[in-house]
Symmetry: C2
Subunit: 186 residues, 2 copies
Amino acid sequence: MSLVKHLSSFISISKPLEKEITAISQKISSLKGEIIINVDERCEQLFFVEKGLLRGYYFDEDKEITNWFSQEEEFATCFYSFIAKKPSFEIIQALEDCELIQLNYSSLQNLYTKFPETERIGRLITESYYIKLEERILNLQFKTAKERYQKLTSSKPSLLQRASLGQIASYLGITQETLSRIRSEI
Amino acid sequence: MSLVKHLSSFISISKPLEKEITAISQKISSLKGEIIINVDERCEQLFFVEKGLLRGYYFDEDKEITNWFSQEEEFATCFYSFIAKKPSFEIIQALEDCELIQLNYSSLQNLYTKFPETERIGRLITESYYIKLEERILNLQFKTAKERYQKLTSSKPSLLQRASLGQIASYLGITQETLSRIRSEI
DNA sequence: GAAGCTTTTTGACAAATGTCAAAAAAAGAA
DNA sequence: TTCTTTTTTTGACATTTGTCAAAAAGCTTC
């Protein structure tokens, strides 16, 4: 689904706005495995995944920890870096060949100013992502490894085929050995 | 600090807007221990803590789990309930005598429409709260109980005096016995 | 299809954290 | 104060999950 179409599910998009969004956004393709944003770079792009799968991860003492996945019709960015204009602690990698739409930080800010109605979209989208994070916290707080895995199984079943065991395990906050054992006993 | 003053750190607030905000917001007081929003109620209020401390918590099989604390100059609401207009799974309780400013969901939506510049404030605030949640996830994902406690000690030292051990423990995703042991060995 | 990677599984054991119960300490109420 | 209730600490033990190492399985690439 295109970005404009996705956005129009939040608020109706006028023709001039649609034109502007198209004008300031770039389509890019990434190959499987490609690093799109590296650690210590400032992430100045907001990505919208048209096709494919991205993940954000970081290193904690040589251990790779996956922080998020973004699949079709989801946004992706190093949120902290993007918003706070600081170097990113995380790395964005394409886990599949991807078609992405890229929006630059400054063009997005200009868009907000030029088309104030987009502020609302920005707010609504941020709110919806906030709710997702909150749910993840509830899981990490007191659910067992197995429960967290089962929850993921039902909420994002396709992810289990598309990301590796190790990536999924660290996303759930467990080791891959533990996840492997959980999976074998179900 | 007043709400208007707090908001003006995000964006300059015009006189008419200030008036409007004052008009639609109500000051309320809550006594220590008071339940402000109960489970299964729809939470239609956004609170701004002028003085005191609130917590949001929920029950997971008879176990009380604290989900967040909000202290001076922070907002509080049952986010999911407020945004999705669904019954709340969490309970808001005053942990101290509080002075709160209360904004109704529908007046807030009207405010967004009447003063479009407030959309930006809404977005910026949501973004900043998103970043905080993200940081919490990083801690819950792979930090040990001790590391999480130490992080809280440095980021919100006053909380340790103001909330009970059990409340802090569940917020960190550990049992109070474990937290008690961590605390005694430091 | 063999050789060389990478990912997943398995095993043995260690460490962290949870559970349950009871004692001690602190806070509140009468 | 004294009594009562709540919170915190401590102990013994169970459970979950992690760690390290090696084997097995699955992919690539020539």
